[in-house]
C-alpha cells in the first residue's frame, strides 16, 4: 500500500464518522481537528474503524500519530504493509 492509498483509507473512515463535513479539499499537512469538527470520541471512532475494517491496532500511546493525514500515512502505511505481508 502506498501512502496515498493509506490516506484514502483514512478519509473513507472520516467520511463515515463525520458525514456533514466536506472532504473535497483536505490539507494533508494540517491537523484534522483544525479542519473538521472532530472530538476525542471521533478519534476513538477512527481507531475502532481501523481495527474493524483493516485489522490494524493503534495503541493509546500512539493516538497522537493520527493528528493529520500526513502523520496518519507515515504511521499507518507500514502497518498496512506488514499486515499485507503476513497474508
Amino acid at each position: 500500500m502506498t501512502q496515498d492509498q493509506c490516506k484514502k483509507a483514512v478519509l473513507a473512515i472520516i467520511a463515515d464518522i463525520a458525514p456533514d463535513e466536506d472532504l473535497s479539499d483536505v490539507k494533508s499537512d494540517v491537523r484534522l481537528r483544525d479542519q473538521f469538527e472532530l472530538d476525542s470520541m471521533d478519534f476513538l471512532d477512527i481507531v475502532m474503524e481501523l481495527r474493524k475494517r483493516h485489522g490494524i491496532e493503534v495503541p493509546e500511546a500512539d493516538y497522537g500519530q493520527l493528528a493529520s493525514l500526513d502523520s496518519c500515512a507515515e504511521y499507518l502505511t507500514p502497518k498496512f504493509n506488514a499486515l499485507e505481508a503476513r497474508r
Binding site: P19, L44, M48
Partner: protein, 413 residues
C-alpha cells in the same frame, strides 16, 4: 400553603406512527386512519408495530443522528417542533432557565441489543465494543441529547415511570415551574422501543403481544377479539409555562393543567389494580376541584390485553358510575399501538383539539364490543360531536403498579 401558579400548555411537538405534527395526527384520528405496519424484528420476524416516519435531519446534523440514539432523535424533533409552536424567542431566552423533562418507559435496551449483536460478529471480543455504549445507554440520554442540540443549560433529565411516563413528564414539569426552578419547560415522553426485540419477546412470553393478519387492525382495545399490545415508537413534548409568563409574551394557549395524581398499586409486578387506578382518577379529579361529571373526555390507557382493558373499565365504572351524560370515553392506542413512554403525552395531544372542534375522536377496530368493557359514553369507530368539552382526563398506567391521571382544561383567562 401559597396559591399555586397556573400552568399552561403553549406548544406541542410530536411524532406518531400516523402523523408528524398535531394537525396531521388529529386529522388521521378523526378520519379513522391507523398507523401500524409490519416491522422486521430481530429473532422474531414480522410483527405489527407503530413506526414513525419523521425526518431526523430536519433538526439534527447527520453526525448527531449517527452518534446519538433513536430516542434522542425523537426527543430533539419533538422539542424543536414544540418550541416553534410556542412562538418563544428562544435565541433571546436564558438557557439556564429552561428545563427538559422527558418520560421514558425504558432506555438502553435498543443500544445494548445492537451492540451485543454487533459484537457477536467479532467473536464476542470486547475490544470491538463501542465507546458510545455508555453515553447512548445512560438513562438521561434522550434529555441530554436534546440539551446538547438546543444549548439548554438548565436541568435536563428523564423520568422513568414505565408506561405512565408521558404523563409524568408533564406533571413533573408543572411542579418544577410552580417551584420556580425553571421558567420554561419542554416535557412529555418518548419511546424508541420498537428497536428492541426484548420488549416484543417479553410481551409474547407474557401472552400479551398482539397479532393480526392486517397490522392496522392489530391494536383493538375493548374488542372481544383483542389479543395484546402493539409495540410502538413515538414522542410528544409540550412547551409549558406559568400563565403569567405566557400572557406577558402573548403566547397562544392550548390548555391549562387542571389537576393530576400519581400513585402506586403496591400489589403486583405486572397485573393492574383497578382499586388503585380508580383512586388515582378520583384524586386527580379532586385536585382539579372538579366532580366526575365535569370531565368531558376520558382517554383510556387500555392496551388491548384481555384482562387489562376489563380492569381499567372496572376502575372507570367505579369513578364515573353509570355514566356521566356529558362524559365521552376514547382510546388512541387503537390507532397507533402502545407508544410506551410517549403514550400518555401523545394520547393527550390527540385530544387537545377537541377544545376547539368539540369533536371526540373514536376508539377504532371495535367490531364486537366486549360486554365487560361496555362503558356508557364509549366513542366507537366514528368520531362524535360533544355539547361541551371543557376538561379531559388522561389515564396512563405502567408496570410495577404506577398509575397516573392528568387533567387539562379549556383555558379561560
Amino acid at each position: 400553603m401559597p396559591q399555586l401558579s397556573r400552568i399552561v400548555i403553549t406548544g406541542v411537538g410530536l411524532t406518531a406512527p400516523n402523523g408528524n405534527s398535531l394537525a396531521e395526527f388529529r386529522s388521521n384520528l378523526l378520519a379513522g386512519i391507523a398507523g401500524v405496519e409490519f416491522l422486521e424484528v430481530r429473532h422474531m420476524g414480522m410483527q405489527p408495530a407503530g413506526v414513525c416516519h419523521f425526518d431526523p435531519l430536519k433538526h439534527q446534523k447527520r453526525k448527531e443522528a449517527r452518534v446519538g440514539t433513536r430516542a434522542g432523535s425523537i426527543s430533539i424533533y419533538c422539542a424543536r417542533e414544540a418550541l416553534a409552536d410556542s412562538g418563544l424567542d428562544f435565541a433571546a431566552f436564558p438557557k439556564d432557565r429552561v428545563g427538559i423533562y422527558i418520560g421514558c418507559t425504558e432506555h438502553g435496551n435498543v443500544e445494548t441489543e445492537n451492540e451485543v449483536h454487533a459484537l457477536s460478529k467479532f467473536n464476542n471480543d470486547v475490544k470491538f465494543w463501542s465507546h458510545y455504549h455508555n453515553p447512548r445507554t445512560v438513562a438521561n440520554n434522550p434529555a441530554g441529547e436534546t440539551s446538547l442540540n438546543l444549548g439548554v443549560t438548565g436541568p435536563a433529565y428523564t423520568i422513568g415511570a414505565a408506561c405512565a411516563a408521558g404523563n409524568l413528564g408533564v406533571i413533573h414539569a408543572a411542579q418544577m415551574l410552580r417551584l420556580g426552578e425553571v421558567d420554561f419547560a419542554l416535557c412529555g415522553g418518548v419511546s424508541e422501543s420498537i428497536g428492541t426485540f426484548g420488549i416484543f419477546a417479553g410481551f409474547k412470553s407474557q401472552g400479551a403481544l398482539a397479532s393480526h393478519p392486517d397490522p392496522k387492525k392489530a391494536s383493538r382495545p375493548f374488542d372481544l377479539a383483542r389479543n395484546g399490545i402493539v409495540v410502538s415508537e413515538g414522542g410528544c413534548l409540550y412547551a409549558l409555562e406559568r400563565l403569567g409568563d405566557a400572557q406577558a409574551r402573548g403566547a397562544k394557549i392550548h390548555a391549562e393543567i387542571a389537576g393530576y395524581c400519581v400513585n402506586s398499586d403496591a400489589s403486583d409486578y405486572v397485573l393492574p389494580n383497578p382499586e388503585r387506578q380508580a383512586e388515582c382518577m378520583r384524586k386527580a379529579i379532586a385536585s382539579a376541584g372538579m366532580s366526575p361529571g365535569d370531565i368531558h373526555i376520558v382517554n383510556t390507557h387500555a392496551t388491548a390485553t384481555p384482562l387489562g382493558d376489563i380492569q381499567e373499565c372496572q376502575a372507570m365504572a367505579a369513578v364515573f358510575g353509570e355514566g356521566c351524560p356529558g362524559t365521552w370515553i376514547n382510546n388512541t392506542k387503537s390507532f397507533i399501538g402502545h407508544a410506551m413512554g410517549a403514550a400518555g403525552a401523545l394520547e393527550l395531544a390527540g385530544n387537545l383539539p377537541s377544545f376547539d372542534d368539540l369533536t371526540v375522536h373514536p376508539t377504532i377496530n371495535v367490531d364486537n364490543l366486549d360486554p365487560k368493557c361496555a362503558l356508557p359514553g364509549l366513542v366507537l369507530n366514528r368520531p362524535r360531536k360533544a355539547d361541551r368539552v371543557d376538561a379531559m382526563l388522561n389515564n396512563s398506567f405502567g408496570m410495577l403498579g404506577i398509575n397516573s391521571a392528568l387533567i387539562v382544561k379549556r383555558f379561560v383567562p
